[in-house]
Amino acid sequence: MIRFLTRKVPSVVFVLFAGSVVAFALPRLAPGNVAVTLAGENPTAANVAAIQRQLGLDRPLLVQYWDWISGLFRGDLGESYLLHRSVASVIGDRLESTVELAVLSTLLVILIGTVLGVLAGSTGRNWARATLDLAGSLFIAVPSFLIGVLLILVFGVLNRWLPVSGEVGFLHDPAIGIQYLTLPAFALALGPAAAVARLLQTEMRAAGNEEYVDLARSKGASASRVTIRHVLRNSVGTAVVAVGLQIGNLLAGAVVIEAIFNRNGLGQLVVSSVQTRDFTVLQVLILGVVFVAVICQILTEIVLAALDPRIKLGD
């Protein structure tokens, strides 16, 4: 485990470094003076001068980068010149909303994906397989925002069953919070869940043709035992990888879903900081996304190694 982590360090550092370079470069690539850009849409001369001084924009790029990145390590995420608040507090305000959405969606992806995948992968009935196939193709093909629109129309406009706009913190009031959370979480999760189910199903059907499954059947094991102990057990790895891959999609999808359901989360913060050109906030958010994606990838590999004795963490 320790060896695995140390072996992973170079590639993780590389990806994070690349991400930080991109984030660092953003305001500097944009046309015009960086300080003017950072000062927002209607900059005042004093503001611009202050930013110029504070960031040391007259110093070499490497020094600027070092200042920024070492600040991040010290926990100093910078200052939003538009909102006149620290980036940390701006992000902190929005964190709960997005974390709630992401966690519930991920749980739904795992739950729906595995259940549908196992059903479609193990059923021998042609009609059941065809129905599940069709439903799967549909949800893979239809993007999360259209599913969101459909859910809003059905559950919020035509029938006023659930709230479709705004939010209440789950920790603040679980009963109400879950109502606000349900539709966006489903909108976000259905597509990735169908993708997970599809991969799991394909893998299970492939595993079903393996000789060790024949051997298990020739032992006299029952169909359900063969499915669970042999077919599924050898296919979960794929499901784990699929879930790991889909988390990136979830994060990206959250930006749109938050907009559709008017949730004040980090996704909306990303959008508004692009619109107002508040780069100090945007930089940190971008790096954060890359960081989360990297962590997910490492977790995936660890789970995969735990599931498969052939994979040894460390070699």
Binding site: F14, V15, A18, G19, V22, L26, L29, A30, S137, A141, V142, P143, F145, L146, V149, I152, L153, V157, L158, G248, N249, L251, A252, G253, V255, V256, A259, I260, G267, V270, V271, V274, Q275, R277, F279, L282, I286, V289, V290, A293, V294
Partner: protein, 293 residues
């Protein structure tokens, strides 16, 4: 009727087929299946409508009527928007934007991605380095990358174009690279090497044709992804800027007025779905055609 066109085009294929390159003939055979034909028919219909929009609706997408936010009717099959503009006309013009994006960005992405993926043929170090860079791009979820580009370039067509192009590179590049890596150890490639076939010929004759299948199918899939990227960025307000309509912009507007006119959003959403179904059927048919014996 516009959708008679594809059927006759497909029937004409067999005669021409004998002289065709077998790889191309296989791709064309996809359009003789019911799936491929339906997909092609949908796409041609949409394509024609978009192409002929200025002829069909010479008034442009900005002509305002008196009523606003009415539902679907015989005069305005998708209804009218907050300024009394016909949503159907705006959708067709929006389709032009979307098609112009994906039909330029995706093919370009396929070409560049293939070249990047095959860079390993020049030197293994270069190939591995390129793969590293592509992996970093893959680390950015599609929309996040788009948001970065929009932040730098300001919202608009160029930012969308680049987003679709760049987000598609890793998958195409990876397909080409894995084809290169796996084909290298195939016995028929080894056999060609033993005969003395040059590297360039090896790539052109043996590796590329066998890599093309996956890349072409992937290209058809990316057409849909391209539309979704446009729509996603437009919904959050970072796409094409009003009053220019794109399908995503129309979705954005529809969402804003969803409580006043629940049908506003339905028309543009249906068009996006139709586009997705068309490309989906075509990519499915292509996939089956290339895997057919």
């Amino acid at each position: 009727m516009a959708d008679v066109q594809p059927a006759s085009a497909a029937v004409a294929v067999p005669e021409a087929r004998r002289r065709l390159n077998p790889t191309l003939a296989r791709y064309l055979s996809a359009f003789r299946t019911p799936k491929g034909m339906t997909g092609l028919a949908i796409l041609l219909l949409l394509g024609l409508a978009a192409l002929l929009a200025p002829v069909l609706f010479p008034g442009g997408y900005d002509r305002q009527g008196r009523a606003s936010l009415t539902g679907m009717s015989a005069d305005h099959i998708f209804g009218v928007d907050e300024y009394g503009r016909d949503i159907f006309v705006r959708s067709i013009y929006g389709l032009r934007i979307d098609l112009s994006l994906i039909l330029t960005a995706v093919p370009l992405c396929m070409v560049i991605g293939t070249l990047l993926g095959l860079s390993g043929a020049i030197s293994e170090r270069l190939g591995a380095a390129v793969q590293r860079v592509l992996d970093v791009i893959l680390g950015f979820p599609g929309l996040i990358l788009g948001i970065c580009l929009v932040a730098v370039l300001r919202p608009g067509w160029p930012a969308l174009f680049l987003t679709i192009l760049i987000t598609g590179l890793p998958s195409t590049g990876r397909l080409a690279r894995s084809a290169w890596l796996s084909q290298q150890n195939r016995e028929y490639v080894l056999a060609a090497r033993v005969l003395g076939v040059s590297r360039r010929q090896l790539l052109l004759r043996h590796v590329l044709p066998n890599a093309m299948d996956a890349i072409v199918v992937n290209g058809a899939v990316w057409m849909v992804v391209g539309v979704y990227i446009e729509a996603g960025l437009s919904i959050v307000g970072l796409g094409v800027q009003p009053p220019t309509p794109s399908l995503g912009v129309l979705l954005n507007n529809g969402l804003r007025f969803i409580t006043q006119s629940s049908t506003y959003i339905v028309g543009p959403a249906l068009l996006i779905l139709l586009l997705a179904v068309g490309f989906g059927l075509v990519s499915d048919a292509l996939n089956e055609a290339v895997n057919r014996r």
